[in-house]
């Protein structure tokens, strides 16, 4: 009998059930999409923050003092110690290798161009978009990943060629343009493009690393490596000195993607090196990230609140409309409990159907948002499904409770007479 009551109620009152069902579906859909976006936004924004460039730098352990003003080296760049280029792919072998977005080695050398020009210039050897192999893993890295604000008019040189890029202001001083040839240290090289960075590189030459090593006559030499890594915002624990940590604490520090622990691991991976976070980038990343995450969390709370109210309002309306039915049932001898049970059973059914549909719709919506804003997918944790369903049921019950209480208390005589 109970089952039949529920079944007939759904069969005969399609419009009302549809309205309530749509409200639940929409509410759950929006809640799902917002929760998915909010849980994933940290990851997405931290990737976007990588457009600020490298947040870690690796230098030789026994490095001499830089004598550098405004990005221009004033001491002969040829002295000092070097890192070994052959060690670099090991970066992709460390614990947090998947958090390494990219790295770019730098080797500045001073050169003379076109003989006639007396002042010496800085030529920086680096990777543009170099294919490297570590173990069985192939990856591409270079300044195009670590320095995304570098813009080239013309084409980027090939990493295996000896072609070069000229800085914007240097090019206008020399009167060269893309496609010209330039004589560097007695050899002729092709200029594939003009580089604009808004920094010191505008007055310099940027070339493949091998060319700089050849000019310096030090094969395999690298002065510093810029590493761009996805990190976790620094907290009090991150600032602890790894030397003072022991056992489980050390493991936890080592296995958290803090800038400091990634620097520590870089030092382990590359022999005789010193790795440090570039504080301007690494420190601010954390604040910006936590602000945006916090904002989305609060917005999600607002969304959950709004959809909970929407669901409650729809349920209250649906039940309020059925006082006549309640009156009839009570007149026929139904107790308060069996009337309430009927309503709750209907609410449960609606919540489950709406919850499943809403979850699917919300997942689709989240995917769309991820695709159109971040060009990458927002994945929904399957763990969320039972959670969302539980929330849907609780909210639907909560929204119905007051209305059911009132409907049950309502005097059947008034209801049957058609008075409200």
């Amino acid at each position: 009998m109970f089952g039949r009551l529920v079944y007939e109620s759904f069969r005969r009152q399609k419009r009302r059930k549809l309205l309530a069902g749509v409200a639940i579906t929409l509410g759950v859909g929006v809640a799902t999409a917002m929760i998915a976006v909010a849980t994933d936004i940290g990851d997405k924004i931290s990737r976007e923050l990588r457009s600020y460039g490298a947040n870690l730098i690796v230098t030789p352990q026994e490095d001499t003092l830089d004598v550098q003003i405004g990005g221009v080296d004033l001491k002969p760049p040829s002295d000092g110690t070097y890192l070994n280029e052959a060690d670099l792919p090991k970066i992709k072998g460390m614990f947090w290798r998947n958090n390494i977005v990219g790295f770019a080695p730098m080797l500045p050398v001073s050169v003379h161009v076109n003989d006639a020009d007396v002042t010496s210039l800085t030529l920086i050897g680096t990777y543009f978009s170099k294919r490297l192999t570590f173990g069985k893993q192939d990856f591409v890295t270079g300044v195009r990943v670590t320095h995304p604000w570098w813009k080239v008019q013309g084409a980027w040189p090939d990493d295996n060629s000896f072609d070069v890029l000229l800085g914007e202001s240097l090019a206008s001083r020399l009167g060269s343009k893309a496609g010209d040839e330039i004589e560097i240290a007695g050899q002729t090289h092709r200029v594939t493009g003009i580089l604009s960075t808004g920094g010191a590189e505008d007055g310099q030459i940027v070339a493949p690393l091998a060319l700089a090593q050849q000019i310096l006559d030090k094969p395999g030499a690298v002065r510093r490596v810029y590493v761009s890594a996805l990190t976790k915002p620094e907290d009090a624990f991150a600032r602890r000195d790894p030397q003072t940590l022991r056992g489980a604490e050390y493991d936890r520090w080592y296995c958290s993607p803090y800038a400091a622990s990634i620097a520590f691991q870089l030092q382990e991976a590359i022999p005789h090196s010193h790795a440090e976070q570039i504080r301007q980038i690494a420190q601010n990343e954390g604040t910006v990230l936590s602000r945006i995450k916090g904002l989305m969390l609060l917005v999600t709370l607002a969304a959950l609140f709004a959809s909970a109210l929407a669901v409650s309002a729809a349920m209250a309306t649906a039940i309020f409309e059925r006082r006549n039915e309640v009156g009839l049932m009570k007149a026929l001898g139904a107790g308060n409990i069996s009337v309430a049970a009927l309503f709750f059973a209907e609410a449960l059914l609606l919540a489950l159907i709406g919850g499943v549909l809403g979850f699917a719709g919300g997942a689709l919506l989240a995917r769309q948002i991820g695709q159109s804003i971040f060009d990458s997918q927002i994945t929904i944790e399957p763990v969320l499904f039972p959670l969302i369903l539980a929330i849907a049921v609780i909210v639907t019950f909560g929204g119905s409770a007051v209305a059911i209480r009132r409907a049950v208390k309502f005097d059947p005589v008034y209801a049957l007479r058609g008075e409200t």
Binding site: Q68, G198, Q280, L298, L309
Partner: protein, 382 residues
């Protein structure tokens, strides 16, 4: 038909001043069906407040986040051409152009020699301003006395490994400095020694050659400032620090798009919630509709009655909701950005008109459906 409730009602009715029938019907409809009217109004208020909060956040979040992004430091660089010093009045001109909306910090550089002949870059600057501009500098102690120096962590190892006072010479002039604290940034600052501008100028006679500017405006304002500075400072090169400006634009743009998507979703849900509640409300009153029609009211009058009711509901809901929404936005601002979100009253007309439109649509739709039904059918309860 005269239950105690109704006669009571009749007495109260007689005691009241007579207003126009239309207004009275509106008022009685709201008062008599308090429960239903209240739930419709609640839906309206919630929708309007959520819409207000989201729109307000969307408009204001850029300004809030931009403040956070200024922690990245300077976004404009003024450099003297060809290694010269900037004219003495440059800083004043820059500060005038900035108009208090940002920071401008001068830097002077010289390469000095330590007592054992090593080259080290020494910079003179306004240390109080640097502290504000470059908040990421990790400094053990800021210098506050004359002849105190701030040593980069790598420079410290060269000039003063035991943190003892040391001498530096520049063009045969020597200065005696006390190390106040060490500085760590992970960039070229680590190899430098920082002094107050006054000490630096007295010692070397070198004037500032660089001014770093952190302007807290929008990208358009920053570009306008660069243009203006290039005109007023012909001897200097003014350029944006692209690493900072482009990163900021990117992250800000993505955040705003996400927020816009969230706002659209939430506002759409709220609007649909209002729609379903109000449609239910009007449908529920098909008896009133039928009675009015049976008593000879024209369709226009009935439509007008329900429309007026819905519009009043929308207007009240929008105004109350606007107040609550402003509060919610301010709370979010305080919790997340530690500064309240400024109420944007330009959002009010949008919320107001939007609420009334949604209310009207949800009132007119059921009326349109009921129009074809004979009043007798409704009154008979079919």
């Amino acid at each position: 038909m005269s239950s105690p409730r109704n006669s009571d009602l009749a007495n109260r009715r007689a005691a009241r001043p007579h207003t126009s029938m239309f207004l009275r019907m509106l008022m009685r409809a709201a008062v008599l069906r308090r429960g239903r009217a209240a739930s419709a109004l609640l839906a309206m208020v919630v929708a309007a407040s959520v819409a207000t909060a989201m729109l307000n956040l969307y408009v204001d979040v850029q300004a809030k986040l931009r403040k956070e992004f200024r922690n990245y430091g300077a976004n404009i660089l003024v450099v003297a051409k060809d290694g010269q010093a900037l004219p003495a009045d440059t800083l004043d001109k820059v500060r005038a152009a900035l108009g208090g909306r940002g920071l401008a910090v001068p830097f002077a550089y010289a390469v000095a020699r330590t007592s054992d002949g090593q080259s080290v870059v020494v910079s003179g600057t306004d240390l109080d301003q640097v502290r504000k501009l470059d908040s990421w500098w990790s400094v053990t102690a800021w210098p506050n006395a004359s002849q105190d120096a701030l040593l980069g962590s790598r420079a410290a190892g060269v000039v003063s490994p035991q943190r003892k006072a040391f001498d530096l010479s520049f063009r045969q002039r020597t200065i005696h400095l006390k190390p106040a604290g060490t500085l760590r940034t992970g960039a070229s600052e680590d190899s430098r020694i920082y002094l107050s501008l006054q000490d630096f100028e007295n010692w070397t006679g070198v004037q500032p050659s660089t001014i770093e500017i952190a302007s807290s405006g929008s990208p358009e304002e920053v570009n306008a400032l660069i243009k203006k500075l290039s005109q007023t400072l012909p001897t200097a090169e003014v350029r944006p620090i692209r690493q900072i400006t482009e990163g900021e634009a990117r992250v800000l743009g993505k955040t705003r798009s996400t927020l816009a998507a969230a706002a659209a979703l939430i506002i759409a849900t709220a609007a649909l919630c209002v729609l379903s509640t109000l449609i239910g409300w009007v449908f529920d009153r098909r008896r009133d509709f039928a009675i009015m029609k049976a008593l000879g009211a024209s369709e226009g009058l009935i439509g007008g009655f329900f429309a007026a009711e819905a519009a009043a509901l929308g207007a009240v809901g929008a105004i109350v909701g606007f107040g609550i929404g402003i509060g919610v936005a301010a709370w979010i601002g305080r919790v997340n950005f530690h500064a309240p979100v400024v109420p944007r009253f330009d959002v009010l007309p949008i919320v107001f008109v939007g609420s009334i439109v949604v209310a009207l649509v949800s009132a007119v739709l059921p009326i349109f459906l009921l129009r074809r039904v004979q009043p007798a059918m409704i009154l008979r309860g079919e």
